[in-house]
Symmetry: D2
Subunit: 162 residues, 4 copies
């Protein structure tokens, strides 16, 4: 569970103002009975499951690649979440996804979690994947299909922001 209390700086204010329209990729996710914690709302770790799902589900759909068989894989270098509201089972949630930074061997996403229609953003996330060779763990450029996916979302992000 999470609350907006105490997150009142300008940086947070900008994140808290984000709407679904700020994100070029939107993924609908169903929640589960077990997601709710003892306070009756989504356990905070579940938000990271949702981020992972939105990112990898989008990549699987766009690239058609199977991460279990890929030679180069994206591993999480850092993740972060700020909680502004509460969502919970049985309501479905929408996860928004956009690119914040695209490097040679890494990519940073920004994500938003939205509950019932009309409600504001419930949580804002940041997530960095570093691409590494599956065996050696040496940072490596992502596959051409992943690169194309990133460039496609960047183009759509321009449309969204403009």
């Amino acid at each position: 569970m999470a609350t907006s209390a105490g997150t009142t700086t300008p940086r947070y204010a900008a994140q808290r103002a984000l709407t679904r329209e700020a994100f070029p990729v939107l993924t609908e996710v169903t929640t589960r009975w077990a997601d709710n914690d003892m306070f009756g709302h989504l356990n905070n770790a579940v938000y990271y499951q949702l981020f992972d799902t939105a990112i990898n589900g989008w990549l699987a759909g766009v690239t058609g690649e199977d991460p279990v068989r890929a030679r180069v894989i994206g591993v999480v270098a850092e993740s972060r979440c700020v909680f502004f509201g509460e969502v919970g089972f049985p309501d479905p949630v929408t996860v928004g996804l956009r690119l914040a930074r695209l490097g040679r061997t890494s990519v940073t996403y920004e994500l938003g979690v939205f509950g019932v229609p009309g409600a504001g953003i419930a949580a804002f996330g940041e997530w960095t994947h570093v691409y590494v060779d599956r065996s050696s763990r040496v940072p490596t450029e992502p596959s051409p299909a992943h690169r194309a996916a990133f460039e496609g979302i960047l183009a759509r992000a321009d449309e969204v922001v403009a």
Copy 2:
């Protein structure tokens, strides 16, 4: 899963150098078959489950309070994790905990995840709880028992750091 790749700034260097001794509270946690993801190592969201467990387990043990019945509860305002190494089932992990900041109605922890003895820190986390009234969700001072727990850990942190 997580990797250290790309996290090479001074701030990360200081976090990566942390050892078990930097944390006044250490909690042993067993891992589970289901924790490992398709890459064979702990799924990144599980680290946040471990942080939650270390914090709330320590608080339950020290204060004897039951969060399900408490009038004032700590809800997560923000969390973050940087991944430096890999841990996984069947190996147990140790979670280190210390206080970074104690406010009137909030508390920020720093956490470290350690795998097999002798290995360096696998992940470094930050976690802010805001205390709120269970019904109104208005920020509220934590109970005297929680306040005493925080002051106790601060005192032990001084011993650890000194």
Copy 3:
């Protein structure tokens, strides 16, 4: 993960032959990256999360009751799952639900998990809830709204089977 191997008795044959049409209630559930285990398919414990979600989501929708505030709650007395096939992220699944037995203070459901359209049943489950007083844990009749939900599904089950 699960397999059909070794489950070849008549009882299993009847369960394996079930299709979506055998279940009066169907719930669409999205899967998650973290659901897949080291073998690349849904971890077996996740099926029970799906059962719980299908049952409680259906009850919440039909009755409008909030289990966190209810005086009489349904607790799991027994659950069981037979695995016939494999499903996994990123594919969504459909969970079918029907009543097998309705007692004075208990209810037994049968459930089916279905993956991609056209594929057979991936798993068959059985699940018994006993209704108890929240405080005393003494078996107690469910609320009139829950009773009505059960009778409604029984009526629809007749249509389905007929």
Copy 4:
């Protein structure tokens, strides 16, 4: 969450009477904040995570084999759990394990979940693994190391029962 209500037949009575001593393999498992559901006790699906963990942790320790690299893998054909009591975070639990049946390409375990010392069995489980070739999914004899593990536990079970 689970309750003993309604499980009063002789078969259940025998299972409910089981103590730690009935199981030749005992595994200590820590619980997590996120394990507790909205009723304040371990979510029922978590019990299956614990079963999986006890079985695979024991096998990994005894055989030294890595399931991610094994050519023959054990996949779940069926699982079942009867709930007699309640356990929950922050208390650790002990999972007992014994063999009920050893076939040529399958093995069935019986498991018990125990909470605080002195309390009776909280849950009784049954679990069947079928060994299959990783690629073809054809039932296959387990590795000699796994076979030796099963025979070792059978011998210890005799001592326990005798």
